[in-house]
Structures are given as C-alpha cells and as structure tokens.
C-alpha cells in the first residue's frame, strides 16, 4: 500500500515540477514579451526563431553581435543552433529550423530547386585558405590550389580534414575531386569529424595542413604561432554565405514571419556595413565582406 502511495506521491511531485518548469518558461517569455513591448511600444508577442547555421559564424563571434541587434528590433527570440552546413541544411529539409545561414552554394541550390527553402539571398563572403606549418614541409607555399593539393596528396605531410559534411568539408572535397584523387588513399590524411576550431587545433598539433575559412583562422591565429597561411587568394577558394527561409508548408510550427524578418535584417544596408566592420579593429582586416545581390 505504502509503495503505491509513495509512487503516486512522487508522480504527483513530478507533475508539479514539470508544470512549475513550464510555468517558469512561460513567465520568462512574458518577461521578454514585456521587454519587447516596451521597446517597440506595440503589443507584439515574442516568438522563437530557430536559426540553423554553420560553426564559423558562431566561432568567429559574428552572431554574438548580430543576434542581439536583430532581437532588439524585431519581436523574435533567436535560437541559434551552430552545426556544420550539412546538418544545418538537413534541419531545413526536415523543417526543424526556420531560417538557415550556410556556405555551400552547390548543396544549397539543390534545396532551392526542391522547394525546401525560399527567399534565397546572398549575404557575405570571405575566403578559404590553406594553413600549414611555418616550415612548410610539403613545399606548397604560394602554389596554385590544384597543384598544391596534388603535392599534398603525393607527400607524407598530414592533412587535417573536417570530415563532417560542413561547408568547408564540401569545398575541400570539391578541390580533391577537381584533381581526381581520393584523399583517403593517403595514410596521413585525417578526418576529425569536428568543427573548424577543433580541426585547426588538430592540424597545429600534428604540424599538418588544413583548409579553413579565413574568419575562424584569424580569430584563433594567436593560438597557433607555428602555423601560417600557405595558400590564399585563389578564385576556387571563395567562401560565399547565403541566407534562406525554410518552406513554411513543411509544418505548422515554422516561424516564417521571423525567417522573413531575419533575411531582411541580414541583407539590410546597415547590417551589411556592420558585418564588414566586424573584427576589423581586432584582427586588422574584415572577417567577412558584404556581398548582397
């Protein structure tokens, strides 16, 4: 009897706790709503907006600046999920995110063609670079990108790949494909399966080469005194970011108004100027350049 009573008591307690937890978030939401109302002087309810994006926009610190700017001006609370571009696009296809900010134009085009996303807009660019040990054991410094990749493939120098289906990984595979080699045939080719920052760390630790976006490298350069840019400036290394709304027909929970507002916000002239100024002071050059259509 007592066990039953204990069981039911604990179940009730669990329910109460659960309700309390729910109530708590509700009150948080109301608080935020109040804040937003105070800001816009309108009765607008704050809704959640899920932004699926790549790790580079988070790891470079850009989103930490942009999101508060957006939230200040629009009645949305942005939930940023920073994953590889492959996963971010997959979240879009499954309708798990409302708006996407990614950098793999070829894969993105497929989503556009399939109608998974809409209002597809170019946002900004920077470039990919090849970073390697200062001593340059493979002797690729300054070579053209295809030549350099062939040389890296032929040498025993370590090459650290993201291996995570991210935009950067897709770009890397594209280059290997263009010179018709299978990089995994080289024993010193590593796949980390992790984000850009971690992969840079692995490359630095193993004194290897790595393809990275410039923003992440510049933001972390100070940690890798033995590494330097080996190749840059090749046309094939352009890194273009696009923003897009997930097709609202996918499910009822998609916040399409929020997605629309976010797309508008990020291609807005003021935001664009801000993006280009971002990091200039700290790193001596822009991490991202404005690039709207």
């Amino acid at each position: 009897m007592n066990f039953k009573r204990l069981l039911s008591t604990s179940l009730i307690a669990f329910l109460l706790l659960f309700l309390a937890a729910c109530g708590n978030t509700d009150s948080n939401k109301t608080k935020e709503a109040e804040k937003a109302t105070a800001a816009t002087e309108e009765q607008v309810e704050v809704t959640d907006l899920i932004l699926a994006t790549t790790t580079s926009t988070q790891d470079s610190g850009l989103l930490d600046e942009l999101i508060p700017m957006f939230e200040e001006n629009f009645p949305y609370k942005v939930k940023t999920v920073a994953v590889g571009t492959g996963q971010a696009l997959e979240m879009g296809v499954n309708g798990e995110a409302d708006v996407l900010l990614t950098h793999a134009p070829a894969s993105e085009q497929e989503l556009v063609d399939n109608g998974d996303v809409q209002n597809y807009k170019r946002v900004m660019y920077n470039d990919f670079i090849i970073v390697g040990p200062k001593a340059d054991p493979a002797g690729v410094k300054g070579l053209a990108i295809n030549e350099a990749f062939q040389k890296l493939f032929d040498s025993s120098a370590v090459f650290a790949s993201r291996g995570d289906d991210s935009g950067t990984h897709k770009k890397e595979l594209e280059i290997w494909k263009s010179i018709n080699v299978t990089p995994t045939e080289n024993a010193s080719y590593l796949e980390t399966g992790q984000g850009m920052g971690n992969t840079l760390q692995v490359a630095a630790e193993k004194q290897g080469y790595v393809l990275t976006d410039r923003a992440t490298y510049l933001a972390q350069k100070a940690n890798y005194p033995d590494m330097d840019i080996a190749i840059e400036g090749d046309d094939a290394l352009l890194n273009i970011y696009h923003v897009m709304e997930v097709d609202p027909a996918k499910n009822e929970q998609i916040n399409n108004d929020g997605a629309k507002a976010f797309v508008e916000f990020i291609v807005d002239e003021d935001t664009q100027n801000f993006i280009e100024e971002f990091g200039k002071e700290e790193y001596g050059e822009s991490l991202f350049y404005k690039y709207t259509e």
């Binding site: 066990f3 706790l17 999101i67 920052g197 760390q201 972390q220 499910n251």
Partner: protein
C-alpha cells in the same frame, strides 16, 4: 602550466567582475542539474524500493535493463529524445527541443537508472530477519518504511551523489537536445566545448574551475548529509 594559472586567474576575474553571463550560465547549470536529480530521486527511490523488496515475474530481467541503463551513453539518450521532440516527432507539437526542459529530460533519462539500481541494491541487502522482527514488534507499514529508509540512508544518498555526478558532467545530450543556445540552453559543460572549439582555452579552463567548484559544493552538502550520525 601557465595556461592552468591563467585559467584560474581568469575564473577569479570572471567571477569577481560579476560578468552576468557567467553567473547566468552557472545558475542555469545548477537549476537544470538539481531539477533533473530531484525528479530522478523522487521517481527512482520509490521504484528502487519496490524492485528491491518485492518479487514478481520478470523482475530479474527488469534489473538487467536498469543496470544497462546505468551505462546508457548520454549521446544515445540525447538522440532518442531529439527524435521524440523534433517538430516531425511524436511530441513535436510541444516545441520542447532546444529548451532547458529537454536537457532536464535527457539528464533524468541517464540518471534515473542509477537511482533505481543503487536503491534496489540497498534494499535487497536488508536482512529478512530484520524485516520479520520489525513486523513482529507491530510496526505499521509507514513506520517500517521509515526504519528501512534510515537503515539504507547511506546507500540511498550514495545513489543520489552518483546520479548528480552523472547529471552535472553530462555534455553530449545537453549539446544535442539543448543546442547550446546563448541565454537559453547554454550550460557550463556545453560552454566549455564551445570555448575550446573557439580556441579560447583560458575561458574554457576558467569555466572548468567553476563547474568543479559547483560539483564540489553540492557533493559536499550531500556527503555531509550522508555521513551525519544515524538516529533511529
């Protein structure tokens, strides 16, 4: 070595400067972990007592599954919860994915088996003769439960401590179901992962000191509760 000292100094600075984000993340971590362990305790102990004292068909098999659950990889728990909670999933309409509640759910899932398993072990250890003796002395069921709980207090609190350790250390599931969203689901462990990937090792170190301190304080309290002299 410098990194360690810098990290420690940075931790002090961050706490002393009253950086609101650090306090917020620490407070959120504590709140989520304590909620999870409280729920696990409230469900786990009664179930543990039930499985420990009673005999029913299939009980051994059930205990096997509970014991496997003690080693359930958090990322597996995270994956299952994600599949249930995402928009296309069976609980999608609740919009719980990427909320603190989702993290609590994952943490309950990984800590509940520990609470049930260790509590039931403790109750299986109770001597049959003692049970008979208590009954013979005419104790009501409630009185008996009280005596048994006091008798197994050390073991039960050990279960709570082990469960709390698992909950506060958890990162894989919290990353997956929480999404490490700033101001919402970012907790100490997921912040550490993020700061490492950003290359901010000093900040990561500072956060590691904070989480260790947090774990120390809570475990300290629980251990003292456990070791307080028993009165029957």
């Amino acid at each position: 070595m410098d990194l360690l000292l810098n990290g420690l100094r940075r931790a002090m600075e961050m706490l002393a400067s009253g950086d609101p984000e650090i306090y917020e993340i620490t407070w959120r971590t504590l709140r989520i972990s304590l909620t999870a362990i409280l729920i696990s305790t409230l469900i786990g102990i009664p179930l543990g007592i039930l499985f420990g004292l009673t005999k029913f068909p299939g009980r051994k098999l059930l205990l096997v599954f509970i014991n496997i659950g003690m080693g359930l990889p958090p990322v597996v728990a995270g994956l299952w919860i994600t599949i249930f909670l995402w928009r296309a999933g069976p609980l999608g309409h609740l919009s719980l994915l990427y909320t603190p509640i989702a993290i609590v759910m994952a943490q309950v899932l990984v800590s509940l088996p520990i609470l049930i398993g260790l509590t039931s072990s403790a109750f299986q250890e109770i001597d049959e003769k003692m049970l008979m003796q208590i009954r013979a002395l005419g104790a009501t069921k409630l009185q008996m439960l009280k005596i048994l709980l006091l008798e197994t207090k050390v073991a039960i609190l050990a279960a709570v401590i082990a469960g709390f350790g698992r909950v506060i250390a958890e990162v894989g599931a919290a990353m997956m179901v929480g999404g490490n969203i700033r101001g919402d689901t970012r907790i100490l462990t997921t912040s550490i992962v993020m700061e490492v990937s950003k290359g901010n090792f000093d900040v990561a170190f500072a956060l590691s000191f904070i989480i260790m301190t947090l774990a120390f304080i809570v475990t300290f309290c629980l251990t003292f509760l456990q070791q307080r002299s028993r009165k029957i």
